[in-house]
Symmetry: C2
Subunit: 102 residues, 2 copies
């Protein structure tokens, strides 16, 4: 009985990242997504995965391996958007300052 | 040694929702956030919390209680935005159809 709750928890928290990853891939919109969250979360899930491997606990390995793939994908999309936004701000600043410099 | 990975995993995956909740609260922007993710995730974390209580496992209880509060907050903000968007679309549709009907 108790294990059912753990099983439901593991399945739902793992599967929940599928619609989030799909939304980010489909729309390319990452504005409301926190870079800090996915940076911390991805490292945390990787740590859980190592724990699962060391403990030889298959449910922990499986759940965290799947979550790691999905979280890394979301993190990569968000990081790309942040880098693109920064370089376009820099580009705009250079364009703006150019007439003043010339 | 093994426990360190579990501890780091638990702390990071729990704390990671703080910047996400803060971003949503601060900006009110939930566009890139998946409603389906937070609906599944919140139920999953609640299931983990019940598991932790039944197993009398304090680390599982603590981590999931904190995550449940943060995830519920993000889910509520997202759900509110979805409901507001739907009612404004409905309002716009009614305004548009009004001249045709009259």
């Amino acid at each position: 009985m108790t294990d059912i709750f753990g099983f439901v928890g593991a399945v739902l928290t793992t599967l929940s990242f599928v619609p989030q990853a799909w939304l980010v891939l489909r729309t390319g919109k990452t504005e409301g997504i926190s870079l800090a969250m996915y940076a911390l979360f991805t490292v945390g899930v990787a740590a859980w995965l190592v724990y699962g491997v060391l403990e030889d606990a298959l449910p922990i390995i499986l759940a965290n391996a799947i979550t790691l793939v999905l979280a890394t994908l979301i993190l990569a999309m968000k990081a790309r958007a942040v880098i693109q936004a920064r370089s376009s701000v820099q580009g705009a600043a250079e364009e703006t300052s150019a007439p003043i410099a010339s």
